[in-house]
Subunit: 221 residues, 2 copies
């Protein structure tokens, strides 16, 4: 193989190496929802500060994340939506071929995946018809940094209290961080128990955004 082609494969291998660590995948998952500081990421993941910083350097050197300064804080963010697409491809390959993944998903989402999830295309159509209430069940910080237009934010810790506020005559669609996030499952299950027509969106917000669909940072009020 030509020297140049070999070097191109080495570059691709470097990126794959950067995401070959479960810890770095988790960091990317959190950064897909919102930009965050090293300290915050350390707390979310349970990694030491030094180790969190080390992993972020690896991601930065391979151009998967960028960093901006805010006072003495460094805020990390994804380098682009293509990084979301890369992780999505990785997840789809794992789900398609690895029995262990299927097994884990079955134990993780017991009975839950049978909640009539709807696709992003379906939601786009329903939204245009005005027949749906969209609920973002991620933490408020993530909601504020970007969400589906007109979505209402009900963070996980407020689920029990605030689901009663919703207009029961409309169909409700809840979405979350991504396919492995349980918050939207919990919300839909609770709503269905109250007799409300509710569904969960298949994708998380990052996948919705990476597909070029409309997003906003405007508050709902």
């Amino acid at each position: 193989m030509s020297s140049v082609k070999k070097q191109l494969f080495e570059q691709l291998a470097n990126i794959a190496q950067a995401i070959s660590s479960p810890q770095r995948l988790e960091l990317l998952d959190y950064l897909a929802q919102a930009e965050r500081s090293v300290e915050e990421l350390s707390q979310l993941t349970g990694l030491s500060l030094a180790n969190t910083s080390r992993h972020l350097q690896v991601l930065k050197q391979n151009a998967l994340v960028e960093v901006r300064k805010d006072g003495n804080k460094r805020l990390y963010l994804l380098a682009g939506n293509d990084v979301v697409n890369l992780i999505t491809s990785l997840r789809k390959t794992a789900e398609t071929h690895l029995a262990q993944v299927e097994f884990l998903l079955d134990s993780y989402l017991t009975q839950k995946d049978k909640l009539d999830p709807i696709s992003a295309d379906q939601l786009m159509e329903m939204s245009q018809n005005g027949e749906v209430i969209v609920v973002d069940v991620r933490p408020e910080k993530e909601y504020r940094q970007g969400h589906i237009p007109h979505a209402i934010n009900i963070p996980p810790e407020d689920l029990d209290r605030r689901l009663n506020e919703l207009d029961n005559s409309k169909t409700i669609v809840a979405y979350c961080r991504g396919p492995y996030c349980l918050f939207s499952y919990d919300a839909v299950e609770a709503l269905q128990k109250k007799g409300v027509t509710a569904h969960r969106l298949v994708d998380g917000f990052p996948e919705w955004k990476a597909a070029g669909r409309p997003t906003t940072e405007k508050s709902q009020s």
Copy 2:
């Protein structure tokens, strides 16, 4: 993070680890075109037989390739089109963010990328109008195992001799193994020098196929 989610990330990380080696990426590139034996792959890549086998075990354990027996030969093949999509995502991320990749591509494809490449969608449309001749410039073995319907096979070693055979009144589109493959560049350049309207397809055959577009194994005659 919950134990199950952590295990899911570990599984994704295992797949990323499997493609974090330039040698395994090269093996996957060859397997994207056609199923091949260990011996053939060893010759194509220059790796020792034992090392080739070792790398294939890693790919197989992470469900990126499958193997079938043909006499005493083991023929390896890609596990699915999603593997092609994964490598495509990897390549796009690298091309988008890594300056080194841009630099390598510039030196590798000097002046060549300015050959008015056309997209798969454009080719689909032109094919339906019957106004185009499609040329597959991969080796015959790869052509035989799958190609775009009606495509003519002109392997790299026959380019100089057989380009004269083509109907000069039609537009010619050449495609190859993928974006890093030079054969289609060479073909288009040679044809344009003869005054023929020729383009190269942006994607390689594996990307075309992975997108669900029509393919066949039928010979052209």
